[in-house]
Amino acid sequence: MSINSLVCIKQVPDTTQVRIDPETGSLVRKGIPSVANPYDLYALETALSVRDQHGGFITALSMGPPQAEEVLRKALGYGVDRAVLLSDRAFAGADTLATTYALAAAVKKIASGRDAQTGASGIDIIFSGKQSIDGDTGQVGPGMARRLNFSQLTYVCSLIEIDVEARCVEAWRQREDGRELLQAKMPVAVTVTEQCSSIRYAALPDLITAAKKPVEVWSAADLDVDRERLGLRGSPTRVSKIFAPPARKRGETLTAPERSVAEVAALLFDRLAERGLKIGRRGG
């Protein structure tokens, strides 16, 4: 028995380039290259290694403007079997709640096999990155699990075993205070951290195939959805304001020709004490 998985991949702006225009106060996104969310690539690698071991099909799923096809083509380059892009004005402006609503509907359609070219029936595991680097929310994976009634396994730092017979997944999950080994029943939605191994170097034949393989583009009409729950209309949150974070300024250079290293060190901790970081007794 093989494992069918689905990988969610988001196209994100290269966030180091995103900034606020100081004059208009709006977000400058023009001309900023888009990349595949790096955490999603860890998810993709995890899916690929599961397929290497157990066989099965991988579907890559994304939602975004038509240009988001690029990330799915990248996924196809790694040998993903099928790529589906949800692209429709009706999806635009979605927050995580509306996003998981649309994505979950797409997963249901893919899993039902009604439309599957791949012959895949059912989805056993949904993989995604622990968060995206633009939104940083980490809400989409768990949200999909909830909507689809999948087990929820977040911040997985290594997937160690899949028991196909018992339909169980064992994985290490990263926590602030350590790591825990969890056993989850399939179907399961897994989000992975950067500690999962990095994406492999794709084989040339897969890249060649990907260059011409179609990415399926679905609109809202292709899904069994209530339009009121999609996009901006279906999103409970609103951005009321965006602004540039207080710019860090070049501070004080402590080194000076007349100061010894020890004097510099003493000066540093004096300065820190002035800022409220004190070494010593309470009140001392």
Binding site: D14, T16, Q17, G31, I32, P33, Y201
Partner: protein, 133 residues
């Protein structure tokens, strides 16, 4: 050797005289032109550039002895526009910050007059990624 600065000061404001011609064919030494020495770091410039880092270097020194014994100027530390090469005085060797390599090819095209640098391109998909270019 006559420097460029001499020339510049020789041409005085209007009404001035040019006192002497520089020796023919002698290039001015840039160090005498008032260029900041040592060179300002390119780190600020490289910080603007996007790189997809590979875990292995695509640059290497062919023979460390050449750097140590024959090359007095450590040309690569100047010719590389990304300041990839640093002379580590204590260890007496060139260290390579391949991560900031702009892949121009200077080091294989005479940037090292001893032809002592093995330069290849990084694996496809890695290395510098210009947004403007």
């Amino acid at each position: 050797m006559s420097s460029k600065r001499d020339l510049a000061t020789n041409i005085e404001p209007a009404g001035g005289r040019i006192k002497q011609a520089p020796a023919e064919g002698v290039l001015p030494n840039p160090a005498e032109l008032g260029f900041p020495q040592p060179a300002p770091a390119v780190a600020n410039k490289l910080a603007l550039v996007k790189f997809n880092l590979d875990s292995r270097s695509h640059l290497s020194i062919k023979d460390a002895e050449v750097c140590r014994r024959r090359c007095h100027q450590k040309y690569c530390t100047h010719s590389c526009p990304a300041q990839v090469y640093h002379w580590e005085g204590e260890e007496k060797k060139i260290s390579i910050s391949y991560e900031g390599c702009l892949e121009c090819g200077t080091c294989r095209s005479g940037g090292c007059p001893y032809d002592n640098i093995e330069m290849r391109y990084p694996r496809g998909g890695y290395g510098v990624q210009y947004r403007f270019g």
